[in-house]
C-alpha cells in the first residue's frame, strides 16, 4: 500500500459480490445482488430498513452463509467463508452494536485472540500496551490503551474498532450506520480518518440513511431495495431525488390502502410523560378510529413512549387518561386490563413465545374469557382462536402450529390477533412491518385500517420507515432527542418530517 502504486490500485477491483442469494423462512432477503468495491474507494450502501443491507454485510463477514452466489477478493473466489477467514483476508465489519468485551481494556480488545506471548504462553503485557499505544498513535487517536472499554464514549469505541481492523491489516472496512450513534463533531473526526485511510488504499463500505453523508464521503453509491440491487452509480451521477426515488421505488398512493379517517371520542390522553434522560414532556391525544404515528431518528425515544404508556418501563412524571379517567399504569398487566394492547418492535425477543403454539400466543394475555369455575375451556379457546386466525387470514396449517415456524407477516397477524383476543381498543404498535416480507406488508396495512375503521380501535404506531408513516397515519408526531418537536397533519412530506427530526 505504498504511495506510488496507489493510482493503479485505485482502478483495481478489491471485492466482488456476485449474484448473492439469501432466504430466511418466509422471506427472500437477497435476490441476485452483485456489486463491486475498488481499492481505495468509499462505497455508499443505501436502502430502507429491511432492504437487505445488513444481511448482505453479514454474508460478506462470513456470519451468514449465502444460499447462492460468489464472493471474490482480489479476483480470488472464496468458498464457504467463516468470520475468522474473512478477517484474515482483510475484511472487517464494524456493526452498530459493537461486539466488544466491555470490562477489558482498549489494548486487550485491540489484540483479542492474538495477544503477544512471552515464556510459557504468558501474556506479554508490556508489549501489548506498547503495541496498542503504537497502533493508536499511527492513526492519530488519543485514547489511553489502559482504559476499560466501558469508560469510552460510543465514538471512541468506533475508533477502537477501526484501529483493531487496521492493525489486522484490513483492506476493506464496513461501517454500519456509524452516524446513527455519533454526534456531529465525532462524525467529522471519523470522516477525516476515513479520508486518510482511503488515501493509503483502504476501501470502505459505508452504510447510512443520511444521503448528505453519502454525497460528502463516497465515490460510488449502491441502492438496495426489497433484497434486490436497484442501481449502482458514481456519486456524481446521482442526485438526491434519483437516490430517494431508487430507495423508495414506488409511489405511496398505490402502496397504502385508502383511508377514510373519522376520528371519534378521545380514548387515550397523555400529558407531561417523562422518563429522565430518555423522554421528556410527551403529550398527545388519541381518538377512536384514528391512526397516530410517531417518527424520528433511531434513539429519539419513540419506542420508549409506547413502553412508558404500557407500564413496561417506569416513568418519572406524567399523567395518562384512558377513556377520560386518569390512571396509573405501573405494570403491563394494568394496561391490558384497561384494554391497551402492545405489539413490540422485536417480536422474537419481546412479542412472541416462539416455541409455543399459535393458540398459546394468542390467548396468553387474556384467558378469562375461556375460564369456567377456574377451568380453562379448551374447546371455547380453540374456537375463538380459529375464528381470529381465519378473520385475520393467518396462513398456517392450524392453531397448534408453533408460532416460530410462521413467516414474519403471519407472526405479526398473530400478535394483532392477541390484542383482539384481549379486547383492546387502543393498539400501540412498534414497527408494524419490521421483518415482514414486502408482499405481506400491504396485508398488515389493510389489517390496521380495518382495525380503526371497522373495529373502532385507535392505533398509535411507531415506524422508522417514513413512507409507512406518511401513507398510514392521520396525524404524525415527530420526535427528536426524547421530545416531540412537531405534530404534522396527513399529507406531510418526508422533507417536512426530516426537518423536525434532525437538528437545524
Amino acid at each position: 500500500m505504498d504511495g506510488p502504486t496507489l493510482s493503479v490500485l485505485e482502478r483495481k477491483t478489491l471485492l466482488e459480490m456476485h449474484e448473492i442469494e439469501k432466504s430466511f423462512p418466509g422471506v427472500k432477503a437477497l435476490q441476485g445482488v452483485s456489486f463491486k468495491v475498488r481499492h481505495g474507494e468509499v462505497h455508499g450502501l443505501v436502502g430502507e430498513n429491511g432492504a437487505g443491507k445488513s444481511t448482505l454485510m453479514k454474508i460478506l463477514s462470513g456470519a451468514y452463509t449465502a444460499d447462492g452466489g460468489e464472493i471474490r477478493l482480489d479476483g480470488e473466489t472464496i468458498t464457504a467463508p467463516t468470520p475468522s477467514d474473512m478477517i484474515a483476508r482483510g475484511v472487517a465489519v464494524i456493526y452498530q452494536e459493537l461486539a466488544q468485551a466491555e470490562h477489558l481494556s482498549v489494548a486487550e480488545n485491540l489484540f483479542m485472540n492474538r495477544m503477544p506471548r512471552g515464556a510459557f504462553g504468558r501474556i506479554d503485557w508490556r508489549k501489548l500496551h506498547h503495541d496498542a499505544a503504537d497502533a493508536m498513535m499511527r492513526l492519530g487517536f488519543e485514547i489511553d490503551p489502559h482504559l476499560p472499554i466501558s469508560r469510552l464514549s460510543v465514538a471512541q469505541r468506533q475508533l477502537v474498532e477501526i484501529a483493531r481492523a487496521i492493525s489486522q491489516n484490513a483492506k476493506l472496512i464496513v461501517l454500519d450506520e456509524p452516524s446513527a450513534v455519533l454526534g456531529d463533531a465525532e462524525l467529522e473526526t471519523l470522516f477525516d480518518i476515513i479520508a486518510r485511510l482511503k488515501a493509503e488504499g483502504v476501501s470502505f463500505i459505508y452504510i447510512s440513511h443520511r444521503l448528505k453523508e453519502i454525497f460528502e464521503l463516497c465515490q460510488v453509491a449502491t441502492v438496495l431495495r426489497d433484497g434486490k440491487l436497484i442501481d449502482s452509480r458514481q456519486v456524481r451521477d446521482w442526485t438526491t431525488d434519483t437516490l430517494i426515488g431508487s430507495m423508495v421505488g414506488r409511489s405511496i398512493e398505490d402502496y397504502f390502502p385508502a383511508r377514510n379517517a373519522d376520528p371519534g371520542d378521545e380514548v387515550l390522553h397523555v400529558e407531561g410523560l417523562t422518563r429522565k434522560g430518555i423522554i421528556r414532556d410527551i403529550g398527545f391525544t388519541l381518538r377512536k378510529g384514528e391512526i397516530l404515528g410517531i417518527c424520528g431518528l433511531a434513539g429519539a425515544g419513540r419506542s420508549e413512549v409506547l413502553r412508558a404508556i404500557m407500564g413496561a418501563d417506569p416513568i418519572d412524571a406524567g399523567t395518562i387518561r384512558v377513556h377520560g379517567s386518569e390512571t396509573k399504569i405501573t405494570h403491563p398487566r394494568q394496561a391490558i386490563q384497561l384494554h391497551i394492547g402492545f405489539a413490540p418492535e422485536d417480536r422474537k425477543t419481546e412479542g412472541l413465545f416462539l416455541n409455543q403454539a399459535i393458540r398459546f400466543n394468542v390467548t396468553i394475555s387474556r384467558m378469562k374469557r375461556f375460564m369456567r369455575n377456574g377451568k380453562l375451556k379448551l374447546n371455547e379457546e380453540r374456537k375463538a382462536v380459529e375464528g381470529l386466525v381465519q378473520q385475520l387470514r393467518v396462513k398456517t396449517p392450524g392453531i397448534e402450529t408453533m408460532i416460530g415456524t410462521l413467516s414474519g407477516g403471519n407472526q405479526q397477524k398473530c400478535v394483532i390477533a392477541k390484542q383482539l383476543n384481549a379486547e383492546c381498543d387502543v393498539l400501540l404498535i412498534d414497527e408494524p412491518t419490521r421483518g415482514v416480507d414486502v408482499g405481506a406488508r400491504r396485508e398488515i396495512y389493510e389489517l390496521m385500517v380495518d382495525l380503526v375503521e371497522r373495529r373502532g380501535l385507535a392505533v398509535l404506531m411507531v415506524s422508522s420507515e417514513l413512507p409507512e408513516i406518511i401513507g398510514m397515519c392521520d396525524r404524525i408526531l415527530v420526535m427528536r432527542e426524547g421530545e416531540i418537536t412537531a405534530e404534522l397533519p396527513r399529507g406531510a412530506s418526508e422533507e417536512d418530517i426530516m426537518r423536525y427530526a434532525t437538528f437545524h
Binding site: M310, P332, R333, Q337, E350, Q356, I358, F360, M371
Partner: protein, 327 residues
C-alpha cells in the same frame, strides 16, 4: 375454514397436553419392561413390581415439583436438603409428643418455607436459580445435621397411624403410589386447564414477552419454588414413615434423580416445554432401569455411570430433535 386443516402433527407447539415425545417414551418404557422380563423372571413378580412402583412414587413426587421449576427455566438443587431438614423436623416433632396431624402440617410448612426462601431469592433478589438453590442445598443439609446432631432420630412406637403413609396399602396399591397419582393428577390439571399453568410455560418460554403480556413474572417464579419445596417435604413424610427414622442425610442426591427424571420425560432445561405426563413416564423408566440392573446384579457404581449417561443422552436427543425441527 380454508386456512385450517387438521393434519398438523409435525409442527405442533409443545404444551404439556400435546406430548409428541411422550408417546415415544411410552414405547421406551414398554420396551424396557419386556427386556427386564426377559433378563430376569423375577421382574414380573408382584412383589418386585410393587417395589418398582414405590420407587416411582417416591422420586415421582419430588420430580413433579422439579418439572414446574424447570418449566420456568429454573432449577432446584435444594430438594434433597429440604427432604433432609423435613425428615429431621418430623422426627423431632414426634419426639415432642405432638399429634400426627400437627407433626405432618408443621413438617410440610418447613418445606414450604424453604421453598419460599428459594423463591424470594430468585424472583425478588434476582439470584440465578442455580446459585440460590445450591446455597440452599448446602445450608439445608447443614441445618438438618445440626438439628439432628448428626444422628438418625428414631420415631419410636407411638406412630402406627403415621406409618400407614409409607407402608400401608389401599385398594391393592401402596399408599405412596396413591399420593403420587393424586399429586400428578393435580399437576397435570393445573398445567393444562388453568391460566396459572399457561403462565408457567410463558415465563419459561420468554420472560420479557411474558411480562409484556401482563403476567406477574415474579409471582409465578416465586410460586414454582414454593411448590417444589412443598412436594419435597411431602416426599420427606413418606420417607420417614417408611423407615421410621428421621435421617439428616435423607434425600441426598435426589435432586439429580429428579432433574434426570424431568429431562428424560421431555421437559426442556431451556424452559417452556414439557410436562408432568412425561415426568411420570420418566420416573418409571428410571425406576425400571434401576430395577433391571439390581436384578441382574450390576454393581451400584456401574449403575451411576449408566444413569449419568442417560441424562446426557436425553438432552442430546432433545437438542438433536430441535435442530431437526428448525431445519
Amino acid at each position: 375454514m380454508a386456512s385450517i386443516d387438521t393434519d398438523q402433527q409435525k409442527k405442533s407447539g409443545r404444551l404439556g397436553f400435546r406430548m409428541p415425545k411422550g408417546l415415544g417414551l411410552v414405547w421406551v418404557l414398554i420396551g424396557l419392561c419386556i427386556v427386564a422380563a426377559l433378563l430376569s423372571p423375577a421382574f414380573l413378580n408382584p412383589i418386585n413390581l410393587t417395589n418398582v412402583m414405590r420407587q416411582v412414587a417416591l422420586f415421582g413426587v419430588v420430580s413433579v415439583g422439579m418439572t414446574f421449576v424447570i418449566l420456568t427455566k429454573g432449577i432446584d438443587l435444594s430438594v434433597g436438603s429440604i427432604i433432609g431438614v423435613c425428615a429431621v423436623t418430623c422426627a423431632l416433632l414426634f419426639g415432642m409428643g405432638l399429634p400426627v396431624g400437627v407433626v405432618m402440617l408443621l413438617t410440610l410448612l418447613a418445606g414450604v418455607l424453604m421453598g419460599a426462601a428459594n423463591g424470594l431469592g430468585v424472583a425478588i433478589g434476582g439470584v440465578p436459580p442455580f446459585i440460590m438453590t445450591l446455597g440452599m442445598m448446602v445450608m439445608g443439609r447443614g441445618l438438618a445435621l445440626t438439628l439432628a446432631d448428626g444422628q438418625p432420630i428414631s420415631l419410636g412406637q407411638r406412630t402406627r397411624d403415621f406409618m400407614w403413609l409409607g407402608r400401608g396399602d389401599f385398594l391393592g396399591l401402596p399408599v405412596p403410589v396413591w399420593v403420587f397419582l393424586i399429586v400428578a393428577a393435580i399437576a397435570i390439571f393445573v398445567l393444562r386447564y388453568t391460566a396459572y399453568g399457561r403462565q408457567i410455560y410463558a415465563v419459561g418460554s420468554n420472560v420479557e414477552a411474558a411480562r409484556l403480556s401482563g403476567i406477574n413474572v415474579k409471582m409465578v417464579t416465586f410460586s414454582v419454588y414454593l411448590i417444589s419445596g412443598f412436594l419435597a417435604s411431602l416426599t420427606a413424610l413418606i420417607f420417614v414413615s417408611r423407615l421410621t427414622v428421621g435421617e439428616p442425610t435423607a434425600g441426598e442426591g435426589i435432586e439429580l434423580e429428579a432433574i434426570a427424571i424431568a429431562v428424560i420425560g421431555g421437559t426442556s432445561l431451556f424452559g417452556g416445554e414439557g410436562g408432568v405426563i412425561g415426568t411420570i413416564i420418566g420416573a418409571a423408566i428410571l425406576a425400571v432401569l434401576a430395577n433391571i440392573m439390581n436384578l441382574i446384579g450390576v454393581s451400584p457404581f456401574t449403575q451411576q455411570i449408566v444413569k449419568g449417561a442417560i441424562i446426557v443422552i436425553a438432552v442430546l436427543y432433545e437438542m438433536w430433535s430441535k435442530r431437526r425441527a428448525n431445519k
